[in-house]
């Protein structure tokens, strides 16, 4: 009975998208619609499978283990919903070879769901590569250069993961996560190090982030799935590696600092730096997609902090933040995609005033930005709150200020999006621009709902997270339906919402006492001038004074460091080429040296 249920789950969440991938490739013109159906079925089927715990060992020569539990369910909820919304969005905007888009998206969805279901390294690696390569091909649809950058780091990540798996196999002779007994501490260190670094590439943690701004500049409908959905697999991998496979007792075996494992602490620190650097770089971007990409890097830095700290509050904050990030960041990418679709421009300074013509897109993006900045009327606040309190209650005086100042920086770049794109003066060419098409709006609306609902009822999501925490053995968190607590504070969201509504009504009453006359945007005080047909939109180089003060620091760039490294290698290989002198005597000498070398090494080894 059990095995049938597992195959059913596996069929729905992995095989069905795989089949859909082939079908939609054959579907040609209707590919996207087929894709929607095959992305919708797993999303809906998540509902009956809530709180199931299905686990099965399967022997295919080696033992593999497929599991469907709350962890899987929780991550599938984000990834499948985001994939569905991305497909819905793609109806209007993917015109070039839709069959390729749909089949690759479904392939990567199948891969992602497979990764989430596998609890052994073999199936994990197979599904991981499936997801990773289809993502590569999807980026290739827009630009070869971007795809190469992604590929380089994708392969790096795969190497790291393989190394981790190899060491694990060396000690245990098995691929199963559960067969982890008898690994010495040094072995654990290397396994976890390689796994965490490998998965961290997917989360774009500094200094492994340089692929992200390029990869996230490809098609918006894919990027929202990529940034919102697929990057969460990195979170899943690190969660599994550190807390699922190893567990707290082994992590704390490395020594602790205020109950936080010394293994996790450097990663938390790295995450805080990622949050800070990603935010600062995002402030200065003019390309809308690059800005969102750097912001994505920064936000996933917060998740990394939570995973590194490893207290119950921190890990649940990290999971919650990953959940929020999945929704608000894909919503932002879709909003950016809608704007780009309508205007055909990428630069923030070339847009302006679109909020008056695209009010619904503006509202959705505004809400996503509220969540991104952590305004308490969205669920984005709660996850950030948990991460801050987790750092503060353990008195981490470097991590906490970095995270806090990064969140202040988030206000800066989010206002840049709002002002540069949606507010300010409407330019002449966009005078008759229309609202985004209906499928796009529906897709954005679907993504907005969880951010709203879970801000009033954080208890619902915290219940799922608490389940995950229990199953990984990290601990429990203190919450009820409307409120949540740490050891040093807490907050009640229902009270906040009711109070906000009441004071808003008061403000509304004062506001409605008088009527106002509407004037057009050119009736503006410019010292009595009204310059005709000049766009007065102050969005170009918006944070120039700040940029000037940061200039001495901004000249150091990790991007350029990598480029220098690659140039060094290219030049180095040029040098190595010179040893091929075409002189037989030299070759004979090399042979002799090599022989001696081997002799010595062999002698030393034996």
């Amino acid at each position: 009975m059990e095995i049938n249920l597992l195959w059913g789950v596996f069929g729905i969440f992995v095989l069905l998208p795989l089949a859909g991938s082939i079908l939609s490739y054959l579907g040609k013109k209707f590919a996207i619609y087929i894709g929607i159906i095959f992305a919708l079925i797993p999303t809906i089927m998540l509902y009956p499978f809530y709180a199931q715990n299905i686990s099965e060992l399967i022997n295919i020569g080696v033992n593999i283990n497929l599991v469907f539990d709350t962890t899987t369910w929780f991550f599938m909820l984000m990834i499948d919903t985001v994939a569905f919304a991305s497909f819905l969005f793609a109806i209007s905007c993917v015109k070039k070879k839709p069959e390729g888009f749909a089949s690759l998206m479904l392939l990567s969805l199948a891969g992602a769901n497979g990764v989430l279901m596998s609890r052994d390294f073999l199936s994990l690696y197979i599904f991981w590569e499936m997801m990773s390569w289809s993502a590569y091909l999807l980026i290739l649809r827009s630009s070869g250069e971007y795809a190469r950058r992604y590929l380089l780091f994708g392969i790096l990540s795969a190497y790291f993961i393989i190394m981790g798996i190899g060491i694990f196999y060396y000690y245990t002779g098995s691929f199963l996560f559960s067969d982890s007994a008898g690994i010495p501490l040094m072995g654990w260190f290397w396994i976890l190090f390689f796994l965490v670094v490998g998965f961290a590439v997917k989360m774009a943690v500094v200094p492994l982030h340089v692929w992200a701004p390029y990869a996230y500049s490809s098609e918006p409908s894919f990027v929202s799935f990529f940034s919102g959905g697929l990057s969460k697999l990195g979170t899943f991998g690190i969660l599994m590696g550190m807390y699922g496979i190893a567990g707290l007792s082994i992590l704390q075996g490395f020594g602790t600092f205020r109950d936080v494992s010394l293994f996790g602490y450097p990663f938390a620190l790295l995450g805080a730096f990622t949050a800070f650097i990603g935010t600062i770089l995002a402030i200065f971007q003019d390309d809308l997609r690059k800005l969102l990409a750097y912001s994505s890097i920064g936000q996933l830095g917060y998740v990394m902090v939570g995973l590194g700290l490893g207290t119950p509050l921190a890990v649940s904050g990290a999971l919650f933040h990953a959940f929020n990030h999945a929704f608000f960041k894909s919503l932002l990418f879709l909003g950016a995609g809608a704007v780009i679709y309508r205007t055909g421009k990428y630069k923030i300074s070339e847009m302006g005033g679109l909020g008056y013509r695209m009010p619904f897109t503006f509202l959705f993006v505004l809400f996503a930005i509220f969540a991104l900045a952590g305004i308490p009327i969205t669920s984005g606040f709660i996850s950030k709150w948990m991460l801050y309190e987790a750092a503060i209650e353990k008195k981490f005086v470097i991590i906490a200020p970095l995270m806090l100042i990064a969140s202040v920086g988030a206000f800066l770049y989010s206002f840049r999006i709002l002002y540069g794109v949606f507010l300010g003066q409407l330019d002449k060419p966009y005078e008759n621009i229309k609202e985004a098409p209906l499928p796009m709006l529906v897709a954005m609306g679907i993504l907005m709902l969880p951010l709203l609902i879970f801000s009033i009822f954080p208890g619902w999501i915290l219940e799922w997270i608490d389940d995950i925490m229990k199953s990984t053995g990290v601990g429990t968190i203190d919450y009820n339906t409307y409120s949540y607590y740490s050891s040093i504070g807490g907050a009640n969201m229902l009270v906040l919402w009711i109070a906000f509504m009441l004071v808003f009504i008061v403000a509304m009453l004062i506001f409605l006492m008088k009527k106002a006359r509407k004037v057009d945007q050119y009736d503006n005080y410019l010292a009595g001038e009204s310059p005709p047909y000049v766009q007065l939109h102050a969005a170009h180089n918006f944070y120039k004074p700040l940029r000037d003060t940061w200039a001495p620091l901004l000249k150091y760039s990790i991007d350029r460091a990598y480029e220098k490294l690659s140039r060094f290698f290219v030049e180095g290989f040029e040098e190595i080429k010179k040893i091929y002198t075409e002189n037989p005597q030299d070759y004979a000498a090399y042979l002799g040296i090599a022989f001696l070398l081997f002799l010595f090494i062999g002698w030393w080894l034996l």
Binding site: F415, F504, F542
Partner: protein, 323 residues
């Protein structure tokens, strides 16, 4: 079963406190004008001048609006500042604070500012865009020392709850005695938070025509004036709650209603003193440029706040000072 009468009384008292806070804020703005005038050797307007101003603005015959986003500024501004006030203990009275979380408060404080920025941006006046850019840059500047200060207080008192912080300060010692350096840095940050000179860069009437406010008039400006009156109270009270024990001198558990009255008066005195310090600095200084403000804030106040943080860390983690 919820006790509805209690809830209603609570709501009524909360409304009274909020109303009083706005009234005191307007009075403070008037006092500010009077004090500045006296420093300039002028007579100055009467202290109730700002009530007249607000009344006049709300009674204007015509108002203009640019679009529906433009309305966000007065609505979110006033609603947000009232919400913030409801989360601040004024004279030790917990309004809505519940657990009175400092980080929640920090983020609730952003709602009015963000609404204001949205409305200003929607006016499609380039001056407004520049003004908001300056305001946000200034925010990034002063938040650096201010967050360090908050962190040192939270670490030393081992709480993120304003309520607990107030009672700990009442029973142990005011934070200004424990962390004098942090208090100094916080006061510097406060000057920027209140946008008083030398940090009135975002408004700068002579450069960018009062920045974000350039297109607001009539009832819009009237509501924004109520917002700024409220935010004066928010900012001074935040400092008083953090460092001067929130004016709580008598324990309400022992003295009952008398304690609330006395605490309210002490709180009023203390925020008045904090407001006067800001005014004195405001009256004699010229204006920084925004780059200078950024460099200033990330240099001196940040260093002072960092020393304060180290002090708090050492006291709490190594010396075991546990208020």
């Amino acid at each position: 079963m919820i006790d509805w009468i209690n809830v209603l009384i609570q709501a009524g008292v909360t409304a009274l406190y909020l109303f009083l806070a706005i009234v005191i804020g307007l009075l403070f703005l008037g006092i500010g004008r009077k004090v500045t005038a006296r420093i300039h050797n002028r007579v100055g307007p009467p202290v109730y001048q700002n009530f007249i101003d607000v009344g006049k603005l709300l009674a204007k015959k015509t108002n203009i609006r640019h679009n529906w986003i433009f309305d966000f500024a007065p609505l979110f501004g006033l609603a947000g500042v009232l919400l913030t006030l409801a989360y601040l203990p004024m004279g030790g009275y917990r309004l809505l604070s519940g657990e009175g979380d400092l980080i929640l408060l920090l983020y609730v404080m952003v709602i009015p500012a963000l609404g204001f920025a949205l409305g200003a941006g929607a006016s499609s006046n380039p001056n407004a865009g520049v003004g908001v850019m300056r305001a946000l840059t200034l925010m990034l500047s002063y938040e650096m020392p201010f967050l360090l200060v908050l962190l040192s207080i939270m670490i030393l008192y081992n709480t993120a709850s304003l309520d607990v912080l107030l009672s700990k300060q009442m029973h142990f010692a005011w934070a200004i005695a424990m962390l004098p350096l942090s208090a100094l840095a916080a006061d510097m940050a406060l000057q920027g938070m209140m946008m008083e000179k030398p940090f009135d860069i975002p408004l700068a009437p002579h450069e960018i025509a009062s920045g974000p406010m350039v297109e607001f008039g009539g009832k819009y400006l009237g509501m924004l004036m109520l917002y700024s009156a409220g935010s004066v109270i928010v900012e001074t009270t935040l400092f008083v709650d953090l460092f001067l024990g929130g004016g709580v001198v008598l324990d309400p558990a022992t003295y009952g209603i008398l304690a609330y009255v006395v605490n309210y008066l002490v709180w009023f005195l203390l925020i008045f003193v904090v407001w006067l310090i800001a005014l004195f600095i405001n009256a004699v200084f010229p204006r920084f440029r925004i780059e200078q403000a950024f460099k200033f804030y990330w240099k001196w106040p940040t260093i002072i706040a960092a020393i304060g943080l180290v002090q708090a860390y050492i006291m709490s983690a190594f010396l075991g000072v546990m208020p």
